[in-house]
């Protein structure tokens, strides 16, 4: 018989999800494991007969039920890296045996949308399903440097084992149930690992909401019983600290997706009267290491994750992460300096990858996309000289006479997460190429400086 592991390790009457409003008529606000399993069985039976599901649910309860129902039905979740319509169309075309699933009035020009909230919610069975460990349960997409998203295969073994490791390293040692709020979407690996998978194994009851503004986050946290846990990113945490609002005591704050600085980490701990744990990871591997950034500069790797390196033809060192639960070793985009057996320092990133508001993209992929836009004769997308975690890339391009800057932006928006849309877009008569055709970064920066100069004079 094939090896299996349960969908959840929680007890039937444990609280799994704290809902802002009952998700269906007659449902309680705090969903217990038994209610959850009942809904999962009902939805699994109602899903369309296809191989892949593109889960676009915005509410975390609906995402979680649908994500699990897809697995129980023996299907596979496709987790796109953004919500752009072009990405959905690409997925539907690349995986013809797939359907869109949503919990709200989402319209798609690309295909019909299966509405999870309109399907049956009740089943007689409250049994906790066992999932084959080798079942492909998700494909998590990351921006590949070729311009096409690249799929990262996740088996139930990967999720089951990595979640056990994550819970050991991310939660405290009190053994108490925490009430969690996440400001990140469940489709993103960081949100998936912490706000969807972790409650299925560890003592977490997660809120179904995804608040954005500081005031909303304060109110949602206050609505949760103590002890509390906040799952967030540096962009959101910076906004929370800057808002000057007071927040309910939050015992633990988990932060990932982009580097956090020590000063902000200390501020967050002061404002929330809790411990901030920063996590290092990537979509290909998942979470790999942690540090208490207010007090530690070195990262401590999780048990079960190993790093190794080899020297490339050009003399640079390439790092890989491997683990028993991963199908293969994964090349990392970061350079690492080991300190002893368990600790390391991050020393840089591969230059093609950019990170904006915690989302990772490839500059060469952005450039390929730009060159595919009809009407663009020549052009480049690049990062300005000084940039923070939310600085947008800049585009410089030469256009056909009948093409406009807005048309180029609209074409890019069909395929990109909004944070990667260039700002500003500068139209030039000719790209500042050298005689040999090369486009040097310095010349692009000069063109940007000239544009800024003109804007201030104007």
């Amino acid at each position: 018989m094939e090896p299996r592991a349960p969908l959840t390790l929680r007890a039937p009457d444990d609280h799994l999800i704290h809902c802002s409003r009952p998700p269906y008529p007659g449902a309680p606000r705090q969903i217990q494991v038994r209610d959850f399993c009942r809904h999962v069985h009902a939805l699994a039976a109602a899903l369309p007969e296809q191989r892949y599901c593109i889960n676009l649910c915005e509410n975390r309860y609906w995402f979680m039920v649908s994500f699990c129902a897809v697995i129980v039905r023996g299907q596979c979740n496709l987790l796109p890296q953004n919500r752009a319509e072009g990405t959905q169309a690409w997925l539907l075309e690349t995986y013809p045996d797939s359907y869109l699933l949503s919990d709200h009035g989402l319209e798609s020009a690309a295909a019909e949308v299966f509405r999870a909230d309109r399907a049956n919610t009740h089943s007689e069975s409250t049994q906790i399903p066992d999932i084959p460990l080798d079942q492909q349960v998700a494909l998590a997409f990351t921006s590949g440097s070729t311009g096409q998203p690249s799929p990262n295969l996740k088996t139930w073994r990967t999720f089951f084992e990595s979640t056990r490791i994550n819970a050991t390293h991310m939660l405290d040692t009190t053994g108490e149930q925490h009430y969690a709020l996440a400001t990140v979407p469940p489709q993103h690996m960081w949100g998936l690992e912490t706000s969807v998978l972790m409650p299925l194994q560890a003592r977490l009851c997660v809120s179904d909401e995804k608040p954005l503004f500081p005031q909303d986050i304060a109110r949602r946290l206050a609505a949760l019983p103590a002890p509390r846990l906040l799952i967030s990113t540096p962009v959101h945490l910076r906004a929370l600290v800057r808002s000057g609002l007071s927040f309910p005591k939050t015992e633990r704050i988990l932060c990932a997706t982009a580097p956090l600085d020590e000063a902000l980490a200390a501020e967050v701990e002061r404002v929330f009267e809790g411990t901030l744990v920063e996590v290092f990871g990537c979509s290909e591997v998942g979470s790999m290491a942690r540090r208490e950034t207010a007090r530690e500069t070195l990262w401590t790797r999780f048990d079960g994750i190993d790093f190794s390196s080899n020297t490339q033809d050009d003399g640079t060192r390439q790092w890989q992460a491997s683990a028993a639960h991963l199908p293969a070793a994964q090349v990392l985009q970061d350079a690492i300096e080991l300190h002893g057996e368990h600790q390391f320092r991050l020393t840089g990133r591969a230059t093609d990858m950019i990170e904006i508001a915690g989302k990772r993209g490839s500059l060469s992929a952005l450039n390929q996309l730009l060159m595919q836009v009809p009407g663009v004769i020549d052009g480049a997308i690049f990062m300005p000289e000084k940039h923070t975690g939310t600085t947008r890339p800049v585009a410089l391009f030469e256009l056909e006479p009948d093409c406009s800057k807005d048309a180029v932006l609209a074409a890019l928006a069909r395929h990109l997460d909004p944070v990667f849309l260039p700002r500003p877009c500068i139209v030039v008569d000719a790209m500042p190429r050298e005689d040999n055709g090369k486009l040097r970064h310095a010349r692009l920066l000069e063109a940007l400086a000239q544009h800024r100069q003109r804007s201030t004079e104007h």
Binding site: L212, P214, A239, S243, V419, R423, H451
Partner: protein, 88 residues
């Protein structure tokens, strides 16, 4: 140039400053154009920046779960009106 009231112009300047909108000047923002989506193409990171700038300048807190806030983010005109109505 768009036809703006003095309060709208002040809000437009706050937007351009908070978001480093280099492609457009404050005077060019049409009070009725959609801030998010097609016209100006702002996103949720921008919404967060705008909410912070507004709370710092006018002591008005934006809340997404409040329908008035969601409507307020529609255009420059509605955002200005919302802040005027809610400032201390």
């Amino acid at each position: 140039m768009a036809d703006q009231s003095p309060a709208q112009r002040e809000m437009a300047e706050l937007l351009v400053d908070a978001l480093n909108l280099e492609d457009i000047s404050a005077a060019e923002i049409d009070p009725q154009a959609a801030l998010f989506g097609d016209d100006l193409g702002l996103d949720s990171i921008d919404a967060l920046e705008i909410a912070l700038a507004i709370s710092q300048k006018y002591q008005v807190q934006m809340q997404a779960e409040d329908e008035n806030t969601r409507n307020a983010f529609a255009t420059l005109a509605s955002l200005t009106e919302f802040v005027e109505a809610n400032r201390a």
